[in-house]
Amino acid sequence: MFGKSLNSTHSSARGRALRLRLTVAASLALLGLVSARAQDFSKSFRVLPSASAVEVVNKMGSVTIVPGDAGAVFVTAVRNGANITAVQLPDGKVRLEVTSDTPVDFKLTVPAASALNVLCVMCDNGIVVKGIRGEILLRTTKGSIQITGARSPRVEASSTSGDVRFDGEILPSGSYTLKSFSGRVAAFLPAGASFRLNATSFRGGMDLQDFPMNFERQSDKFVRALVGSDKATVNLWTQEGGILLRRKN
């Protein structure tokens, strides 16, 4: 009885182990399917590291761009059934465009020196750009913009109703324009940065106290001032939001 019972117990344990294995396998398969469904658009392009350019036109959703392989642009997206055109133009530029009224969340890995030109009209999840050294042109009607770790000679980031935040280097002779009609504009710059500042906030006020500056013009709405030399230009503009200029820690 004891032996029969032992055999029965052993058989039951093997059954449980088998069921566990099957469950794990099924879970992994399901996870894989879900993952494939989540990242249902994927494409890569070979590009010249020094002349890489990427253009994105997205109707709604989000765009995230980070630096990666110096000779390639990788694109993944949650398509949600949207029509996405992804092509490489004769000049080497990679162009992505959504032509249906469906939200698409793009994730791009690009060479750090890439020039970016992004339009994401209804970008509820925002435009995020990290660690880029090429020209950055970002535009959204509805949505926020975040640029971090940038070392770019030219930045133009503009949102109509979202916040715009820049955290990066100011290069000599560089041009940096951050605009928002109704959102907040914030710039986090290195302590030793030199630039000419043009700041305009019609209704939201300005906090510019972190940098010692020589004011050429100062009112509650407009500030024109010099921080160090005037080789670079920083333009901060908002109609209804506030302006924040901070030294990076």
Binding site: M60, D101, V121, T140, T141, K142, T160, S161, S219, K221
Partner: protein, 227 residues
Amino acid sequence: MDCRSVIHSLSDYVDGHLAQPDAQWVESHLRRCPPCQTVKADLQEIRSAARELPLHAPPRALWARIQQEIESGEHPPARRAAATQRGWWQRLGEKRFTFTLPQLAGAGALAASLLVFTAVRSNLFVPTQSLQPVKGGGAVSLVAPNSQALQAMQSRIEERLNRLNTRKAGWDPQMKQVFEEHLKRIDYSLANTRQTLEANPDPDQQQMLLDLYKEKLQVLDDFDKLR
């Protein structure tokens, strides 16, 4: 001494402007000449009557003209002859005019009307309109100050609005809503800024208006780029 010489000096004698020897000489003649006595009596009567007339100050322009004539030493006939050889514009510039107050007021009103008419005809000002709803769901905002940049911006906005209005029917409802809400918000700011600018036309307000037009154009461009 004859009567002609006495009569020539008689006016100065009556006014008491003759020197003593000449005055004695006129008096001796008058004692012997009744016709000259009659002339003397007439002159005195005229003088008395003139004293009773009210004093009228001559206009400034008269004194200025007299002074100019004295200084230039030019006699009126000679000046008229010279004037015929000059152009009408030069002659007009040399003329002196005097006007009554009603005449001046009338002329001022006429000049103001002409100025406004000319300004409007030559697009010196863009006519100011109140906020009006338009097809794009936004509003057309025109502004008084003459600025080519503003006018160019307005025509580009109109062009984009017309184009987008034809496409908007086929848009996703959410997209349509975002488009109209954003334009409405910018138009509201434009209307406020325009009102402020009309009350206080300073360059900052004008710059603000230009920035708002740029923002509106930017939103229109965003949607125009979508396929």
